[in-house]
Subunit: 627 residues, 2 copies
């Protein structure tokens, strides 16, 4: 009983934990990240670790995931193994979450030339001293000046600011800096400070992604992006995808640790940014965060449970302006947090931000935004109308649900080419391969069908002679990297079942686009521009994505990467009050089609389970040699 | 050194205090009230107590207030005497603040028939369960129902309410009670509770007077006044009038104890009310408080210091809606507090409430409201215009600044008649006389001038033979009650200097009314109704008040008592959102004349220092036999 000392390798992090703590929980406490797809349910088998010193109980579950040899070597599932001894634990390469390509930039299509009018403003006021002829209340003296800058508005002022106002004005010779925030159609006074502090005025745009959290530091006096930092979303310790995290938060784990994880993330990013730019965190007055609906709920601590249950109802789609300190975010204690409005449970503020950033809602021409991850979210529209939907693509594009799938981090095979019968691959970071990430899988499938190793139905031509073609437990698989080349000393393969999963994923995304286009009664040829957004999108090979039937077959020059458009939209909203209001309008006016109850989608989905599609006329530019 | 035991008599309250604590502070801690006009500065001499056991240091200051005999008997000033011994202390009758006539009612002139539409409302909602066809966010499902009742509005919802909303709805089968408060032009959701609690829904109207605090408990479903409680404003321990309290709060005493005193008052009244009506304090959802500008600042903890200094600038004249719990008021933790808007530093929310209650702003005819206390506040107007002012009347009407003056509490002489050469008096509570209160002083002066004992200049006819006419230290005085009749065993007298003070006080009030009438260019004959408001007002003898020149000489049937119109106005605002908005309009539209810099006022004031006035034509109905 009592406490035990745990040492994690190769990170070499040690800590003391209470008896009975699971290895996964200990890792979380030590800030050591272990891959975890299922949220600690013991079903994904991705959190395998090796106990090299001390005794760990052999778990019944382990038998399903490990060979007898591995069990002898001390392999256990971190989430299922309670600690009853001092342990030394090796986290093997395939279970590590290393620094990945975190996309911190973002193209700005639609909002480049807006005048700077940030959500929070600072005004230095040198007020006139009251006289008997002009003895209006102190608040009115300030409001009168502010109206010269902002037009006729009312100015809410919180009690704590009001209580000391009189003294502040008089002790500082009526020279103060007033910080005001947009508040509905009016303004709210956040803070009144002695002297002129208007020059130091910063804001933060944050993309709260399921996988990564990215924060940009902005100078609100110039609109300039000063710096950017990103990190993995620590909520991954409670599950890789939003559904596992919701299950964790709504189960015995509770919402608190899940909320605190992302708050800790944001505080970490703030720490790094202020240190690099040599400013004080107190000088940050405002944060605009964009995330999907679940991420937004978890950030604010709103019960997320009903989001994942039919009929998929969020608590709210518009979030109240709060003081960031209310949820533990450490900027100026009176600084505010705005969270971008959402459309529905599965079309969130990240998509609203993306629609804004891509400028879809500003033109006559029909444009389309597509954000591919575990869900594929699609928005189509123009200046008059907007429709959207979300299709469950499954975890394949994010590296889940496939034998050797992994996130786009160091050691992931991200490019595959088969040329003259020879297979070539690239890994992220040039490291020894550990697995295949989403873009690598798309390459694989494309190369396999192009080289007639699989058919357009995704099945291997079993009669084919190929040293890379193998059968294990009756499942056909293709070896991308042989054991001797890899860090894990095991073959990195793609199985027929993996290919089947990928076809289902791409089929769901394509069927969603097709269903939306049919819903509005337009053909693909009317799409002026198709923007591909998000972390996964930026690694996509567009011609191959079209060739396997993930993206529609429109002229390649009309398909554009738009990067982290969630972050771009958050930044644009931070820098312009009217842009933030545009986002509210976008979220309110967008028509969301619930695909799960939309019969045409089911038909489209089945038709899309082929490479590129059962209806060849939809992909006129794509041809494969028949097997 | 160390602690000492103090026993207060006749209350028989004991407590332990630290060495060096003053007797006044010890009394405050023991909840024993000692009269105190100057706020502990040692200048009013009203806090005299007798130390009957233990040694108290003889204070230098005491010599000015006590005879050698009194000093030998242990008399000291409570505010100036530090405790260095165990003491037994008698608080003599004249220094006690006993239960007085606290005016808890109020006539309702202008707002009787308004439809019930309270500032805070409760709605029981039996919501439909979400389906795939109707899966709007939870907040929208509630807002949709509320809009059926309230029309199209937005509904702010605080984060803590939002966080648990999803669970509350689902655990309670979508049957909840929603409490909403007016919030600017929209609404704010305060609370969402399981099941139907709409029937228990209470509010509090509070008059925060300088002297007394009165609270009415209202059933917000019926508008019925359920009960009322009043008590002395505990801030009196820091000074009787607003100026002394501001000096205390802005000096070493600090604002906190002054704020806490009135909060404690309100909590005490709430305790009594909920106990009597057998409800829970949590069922009270809203408080509307009305007070003068200083009281409003002190209640909310706003620095009050600039109110008393030229050019008399308050922090604000409109107060933010807050949660009552923010300042320690114990009702429902999410219940709100609204404070009635003020006009200027010396025309407060009590007057705005009074204008509302009197209905002045609703008619074509010109009406006038007058509230007499340490300040005389006057508002005149009709449906088209409103003017107001405040005149410093001095403490005479409240029992201060005169030799035997006292508040209108037990033992105060409140009525005096001289008939057939015999003087008769009544005391409050029928007790042995301890002093004279404001209404008694007005009676005295009227009877003295009517019986030609003083001239119209307020000077005694010195040649007159009268056993009650006495000279002490060269100051003429008139004995109202002889020592053998009184509780204090000393004569209760009115001195020539007291009369002089009274004439200055009534002169200031009259001059203010006259100045306002001249400012708007109307004569007294245009006044349709003159309402006399406030605690002091209700004890006034109107014919005598006219006869000494305090009130203008208009037909007596046009002068009406309106009781505690501050409370009436607060209640009307609590019960009707549109009435609260009317108060905002009244406060914004009222023109305040600053008499301290208004030259015509000075001339009027000097002209009014005569009984009834130097210009006899202003008081055609008043005649005195010449001496």
């Amino acid at each position: 009983m009592g406490d035990h000392t745990i040492r994690f390798l190769p990170a070499d992090q040690s800590l003391r934990v209470a008896d009975g703590t699971t290895i996964a929980e200990a890792a979380r406490q030590a800030d050591v990240f272990i891959t975890n797809l299922c949220g600690g349910e013991g079903v994904c088998g991705k959190c395998r670790v090796q106990v090299t010193k001390g005794r760990a109980p052999a778990e019944a579950l382990a038998k399903g995931f490990f060979s007898q040899d591995q069990i002898m070597k001390g392999y256990v599932l971190a989430c299922q193994t309670p600690i009853h001894d001092d342990l030394e634990i090796i986290i093997p390469a395939e279970s590590r979450m290393d620094a990945s390509k975190i996309m911190t930039g973002g193209e700005n299509q639609g909002t480049a030339n807006l005048p700077l009018d940030p959500l929070v403003k600072k005004f230095y006021l040198a007020l006139t001293t009251p006289t008997m002829e002009d003895n209006v209340p102190d608040v009115e003296r300030i409001a009168r000046e502010l109206r010269k800058e902002l037009g006729w508005h009312t100015f809410d002022i919180p009690l704590d600011c009001l209580q000391t106002l009189s003294t502040k004005l008089r002790e500082n010779d009526w020279k103060v800096t007033v910080t005001v925030a947009r508040h509905g159609e009016n303004y709210r006074i956040l803070r009144i400070e002695p002297f002129d502090t208007a020059r130091s005025h910063y804001g933060l745009a944050v993309d709260v992604g399921t996988t990564t959290v990215v924060a940009q530091l902005l100078d609100l006096n110039t609109g300039e992006v000063l710096d950017v930092e990103g990190c993995h979303n620590q909520q991954a310790s409670f599950g890789e995808d939003v559904i596992s995290r919701v299950i964790f938060a709504c189960g015995k784990g509770g919402l608190d640790p899940v909320q605190q994880a992302v708050v800790k993330n944001i505080n970490t990013l703030i720490n790094r940014l202020v240190k690099k730019r040599k400013i004080s965190r107190e000088e940050i007055d405002v944060i605009v965060a964009a995330g999907n609906t679940t991420m937004s709920h978890l950030l604010l601590g709103l019960t997320p449970c009903s989001i994942r249950l039919d009929p998929y109802v969020p608590t709210t789609d518009e979030f109240p302006q709060i003081r960031a300190s209310e949820i533990g975010i450490r900027i100026n204690p009176r600084g505010i947090l705005e969270v971008m409005p959402c459309v529905a449970s599965y079309v969130g503020g990240d998509i609203v931000a993306g629609v804004l950033a891509s400028g879809i809602s500003e033109h006559e021409a029909v444009k389309c935004l597509i954000d591919i991850g575990t869900n594929g979210e699609i928005a189509i529209g123009n200046q008059d109308w907007l429709v959207c939907c979300s299709a469950s693509a499954g975890p394949a594009f994010e590296g889940g649900g496939t034998r050797c799938g992994m996130r786009a981090t160091d050691g992931a095979i991200e490019k595959v080419v088969i040329k003259d019968g020879e297979l070539h691959y690239n890994t992220i970071g040039g490291k020894k391969p550990r697995g295949i990430c989403g873009s690598g899988l798309i390459d694989c499938i494309y190369e396999l069908v192009r080289n007639n190793i699989i058919g357009q139905d995704g099945k291997f031509h079993r009669e084919r002679e190929d040293p890379r073609l193998d059968v294990e437990d009756n499942i056909f698989e293709y070896i991308i990297a042989f054991a001797h080349e890899t860090e894990t000393a095991a073959n990195v393969v793609i199985t027929e079942s993996d290919i089947d999963n990928l076809i289902k994923s791409k089929g769901a995304v394509f069927a969603a686009i097709k269903s939306l286009m049919d819903y509005i009664g337009l053909g693909f040829d009317t799409i002026d521009t198709l923007y591909v957004a998000g972390g996964f999108g930026s690694f996509l090979d567009i011609p191959k994505s079209v060739a396997i039937g993930l993206l529609p077959d429109i002229p390649l020059e009309n398909i554009k990467f738009i990067g982290n458009s969630s972050l771009t939209g958050a930044r644009a909203s931070l820098l312009s009050k009217s842009t933030f209001e545009t986002c509210l309008n976008i979220s309110r006016s967008m028509t969301n089609i619930e695909l799960s109850t939309y019969q045409p989608f089911t038909d489209e989905y089945i038709a899309a389970l082929f490479l590129p599609h059962t209806d060849e006329k939809l992909f006129p530019s794509v041809t494969y040699a028949k097997g």
